[in-house]
Symmetry: C2
């Protein structure tokens, strides 16, 4: 039985991204952060909608033009396409687990090659 | 900030179903069970795919023709369309919280009326 909280690393150099399910128009992704923010100065600006919930740890989320939001386990946010946002920090003491539902994302991988 | 674990009831007569997001082809739903199984003898047999994760509590899930699976927090299952299944029990002592992603579900509500 796969589990979202299985095999969490204590600390990694980079965030870990895993696709749990891909279907046309929908991708379910687990993200594990261990202290990383978004790359400095980087804003996510996606062509598709994203619904994201934080399930363990904690994080700061900034939606452009708004004050930082602190996310605790269970908090969820809908990020419409082109709602620019970035993660300002994630918990340095324990892994932060995110579940992201990407909706209407173009297929990045039509040839079947790994990205 | 909406939270999946906010305002959980200790006990309700029936399971609580809440749509957190609806988009064409995708519906994100929270389900709260407080001891209820699926209705006796009822098998879910859906025309669409469902990905479901249990986030609090515990439950027994039966996929037709297979032994019961016990789900603990973080466990997730993909249920393709027409994979008949039922919930055989849910935790009687504390609320069970499910997050279900329905993929490719026909719009049940084209007129805008409540179901």
């Amino acid at each position: 039985m796969p589990n979202l909280f299985a095999d969490l690393p204590a600390k990694t150099d980079e965030e870990l991204f895993s696709d749990l399910l891909k279907r046309p128009g929908v991708r379910i992704e687990r993200i594990i952060s261990t202290g990383q923010p978004s790359p400095p100065g980087h804003w996510y600006d996606q062509d598709w909608d994203e619904w994201v919930v934080l399930l363990a740890g904690s994080a700061g989320l900034v939606i452009e033009g708004k004050p930082e939001i602190v996310l605790e386990p269970g908090d969820y946010v809908f990020l419409p396409a082109h709602r620019r946002h970035r993660v300002s920090w994630t918990d340095a003491g324990s892994p932060t687990v995110w579940l992201a539902i990407h909706i209407g994302e173009p297929d990045r991988n039509p040839s079947g090659d790994s990205r």
